[in-house]
């Protein structure tokens, strides 16, 4: 998976309440995506273009187990690159096949609006605007395989263990 797009930047300890607030729980997945960062950056979700890349700080996705990764994916973001990912949030990135990469130094290497080039499997990130290159931490092979397979539901559906989506 390779991506080249402009980046948006957020800080450390972004929690899942900010990504998927309780008030959006009863809405459709597409509507939920419009509430990403509603409390801390109102109007941002409406500016995101399909294929954009999000850059985060340390412990991105801390907090609850809600399907926050699904909202980032449904918003149209191609991938997330963070200094570090919260362990529970990483699980949901894998579950929903949303490419998320840990890459120390990424936060300081970009200014919002610059262009990033990402090779997800190789875990490389390049600032295409300025030329600097970074090496992230590749996902363990078993988890990478799950992402490439389209996530947990895709896998269980293929194996006939859950009903096809209604």
């Amino acid at each position: 998976m390779n991506f080249k797009a402009r980046v948006w930047i957020v800080g450390d300890n972004i929690n899942t309440d900010l990504i998927l607030p309780n008030k959006a729980f009863y809405l459709t997945h597409e509507e939920q995506a419009q509430y990403v960062f509603h409390a801390n950056r109102p109007g941002w979700a409406q500016q995101v273009q399909k294929g954009d890349i999000l850059i985060g700080g340390h412990n991105f996705g801390m907090g609850s187990s809600r399907a926050a990764a699904r909202s980032l994916k449904n918003l149209g973001l191609a991938c997330l690159i963070a200094e570090s990912l919260n362990g529970l949030f990483l699980r949901n990135c894998v579950n929903f096949a949303f490419p998320a990469l840990e890459c120390p130094g990424v936060h300081a290497a970009f200014t919002e609006g610059e262009i990033a080039e990402v090779d997800f499997e190789a875990a490389t990130v390049r600032n295409a605007t300025r030329g600097a290159a970074l090496k992230g931490k590749p996902l363990p092979p078993s988890l990478m395989a799950l992402v490439q397979a389209g996530g947990v539901y895709q896998l269980l559906e293929q194996e006939g263990l859950i009903a096809p989506k209604a």
Binding site: N13, D17, L18, S64, L88
Partner: protein
């Protein structure tokens, strides 16, 4: 090389002799807990087969009784799932209902050495029972229910060596706020609580520490087993088990001492749990609109009885909503029997039925614009309990109760000493 408690269980459950930090392992799962949010129309996927119905627990806790049609629909779906697979451990709205993590304690669902999963982030609460318990994603739960397995990434472990005992009016919540304030996030790492001070803490108090460890972003939180733990489990579950002790030469990321005797009441300022603690005195005088006691972290019998001691014979301040939520029907009945509920109601508290309630901003005390709340629940993130402009301070049930009486953030030692 020696192993920590978490490493030992990861190794045993993945059929390996040893694990080291960095390993990704597939483990057998002993207990899978589903709750109402799993069955919400936007989350649920119809399961066609499950590994073992005896390993499943189902409860409704986040939105109980159903506040909306969607929440009610989720419960209908959950009941159909229970019928379809003959799930015996079902805690429907009624006599045996409660917050999942409290039910684990009430009914002895977590045995030392076992692996327990639930897709609520505070599932690490069950680590108080010397087991591996972790909050995972909704799809992880469906996968584990079907396959009986899950994956874990083994992280390093930080050990907290507790000594001494807590002074009057100081609680395990204050001990947590001390750790969170000084050491911040423990992302990718496990926390292990032990030491001679553990014996002075009730199981409920220890459970506050493990539940709140979710806020440290810990992978797993574990306590060592002792006689008090053995007595608690044996009174509720006759199944056999063996304690898991860390090896003497276990390798820790850090070993940190916490002298419980030296602690004082703390509060966390709004918007972040970690790196955000201060002595209650520094926040004293801050005006509040709501005081909230409940959640998986602090809705136990100990917490409600402590709050009752603070407010006994007194009245909640005018203009303050004091909401108290027992974490389960068992806790509700026990605190009714002890008289604590009557004391709280006479003081002006509103008692809500067992539910996660407003801890997650769902219902039963959601905040409006610019409102200020002091809570003993699990999180104070911006907008979590309601309007993004509301402010949530976090403290112990004693501090919350004392603040309810004065209408401002108040040191509980003013009432308990």
């Amino acid at each position: 090389m020696g192993m920590t408690i978490a490493e030992k269980i990861l190794a045993a459950k993945s059929g390996r002799k040893a694990v080291v930090p960095g390993d990704v392992v597939t483990v057998d799962v002993d207990t899978v807990i589903l709750f109402d949010n799993n069955f919400m129309p936007t989350n649920w996927r119809d399961i066609l087969k499950i590994a073992d119905p005896e390993k499943i627990v189902v409860t409704f806790d986040h939105r109980v009784p159903a506040p909306t049609q969607q929440a009610a629909a989720a419960q209908v779906t959950g009941r159909a799932f229970v019928r379809k697979f003959g799930i015996k451990r079902f805690h429907d709205v009624g006599h045996n209902q409660g917050i999942s993590h409290q039910l684990v304690a009430d009914y002895g669902y977590a045995l030392p050495g076992s692996v327990l999963l639930c897709s609520d982030s505070h599932t690490c609460s069950a680590g108080v029972f010397n087991c591996l318990a972790r909050g995972v994603g909704g799809p992880d739960i469906i996968y584990a229910a079907i396959k009986g397995q899950t994956w874990f990434r083994c992280g390093e472990t930080v050990r907290y060596e507790l000594t001494g005992s807590l002074p009057e009016a100081v609680t395990a919540k204050d001990a947590f706020l001390q750790i969170a304030g000084v050491h911040g996030a423990h992302a990718t790492m496990n926390v292990e609580y032990g030491g001679p001070g553990v014996a002075s803490l009730s199981i409920n108090a220890r459970k506050t520490l493990t539940a709140m460890s979710a806020e440290l972003s810990a992978e797993f939180a574990t306590f060592e087993a002792d006689d008090a733990l053995a007595d608690w489990i044996r009174a509720r579950n006759p199944a056999p088990w063996s304690p898991v002790r860390p090896d003497a030469d276990a390798k820790y990321h850090a070993v940190r001492k916490v002298d419980l005797s030296a602690l004082a009441p703390l509060v966390a300022r709004p918007d972040s749990v970690v790196n955000n603690s201060q002595p209650v005195g520094e926040a004293a005088g801050t005006r509040i609109h709501q005081a909230y006691i409940g959640s998986c972290a602090n809705g136990t019998q100990d917490d409600i009885e402590l709050a009752a001691r603070v407010v006994k014979g007194r009245r909640v301040a005018s203009g303050v909503r004091f909401i108290v939520i027992p974490a389960s029907q068992v806790v509700y009945r026990d605190t009714l029997a002890s008289g604590a509920i009557q004391t709280l109601v006479e003081a002006g508290a509103m008692i809500a039925p067992p539910t996660c309630g407003a801890c997650g901003g769902g219902h039963m005390g959601v905040l409006g614009p610019e409102e200020v709340c002091i809570t003993s629940s699990t999180r104070n993130f911006k907008g979590r309990m309601g309007d993004p402009s509301s402010q949530v301070w976090m403290a112990s049930p004693a501090t919350v109760a004392a603040s309810a009486l004065t209408g401002t953030i108040t040191d509980p030692r003013d009432f308990l000493n």
